[in-house]
Symmetry: C2
Subunit: 76 residues, 2 copies
DNA sequence: GTGTGACTTCTAGTCCGTA
DNA sequence: ATACGGACTAGAAGTCACA
């Protein structure tokens, strides 16, 4: 078969990138987002760099803070 | 307006329920799934009961073990 | 085959700084 | 406003014995 590859980017990285790009689209700072999600400034930065293995509760907190559905943050 | 409610079920619970129902559709035991995902039997059970705040890496491991995209497990 | 309590190890998540 | 480090505490990861 032809189209097999795809070699998925790890979910953690997809989440990281989507989080950052959506946050920026909203002209929100990491600090501002952290506040909205009741998380810490530095932690959000770590997550956006893909350095943290974030838990589902906090993923949801961030999604809600951004006002987007969680699956949107897992988009390729 | 009429249809506003929706009162989202927490992502953790949605994940729990979807995981269980998809696993069962595949006639797979918690044990079998745990093996495929390189996780422990009891841990998978805990997750299916929504008792664990699972991290993104393990969510992905379970999704891959089931052969479904991660977002499928977050479906309402 | 699954649920549950208890337990230890490891990392998620906080908070302080400095650049 | 963000990155990054160190040091710390809360809580996730991972395992077991028993129902």
């Amino acid at each position: 078969m032809a189209t097999k590859g795809a070699k998925h980017i790890p979910a953690r990285l997809r989440f990281a990138r989507n989080l950052r790009s959506i946050r920026k689209e909203m002209n929100l700072s990491q600090e501002g987002l952290a506040d909205l999600a009741n998380l810490h400034r530095t932690y959000v930065g770590d997550v956006e760099r893909g350095e943290r293995n974030i838990s589902i509760d906090n993923m949801e907190a961030l999604a809600e803070a951004l006002g987007v559905p969680l699956w949107e943050l897992l988009r390729m």
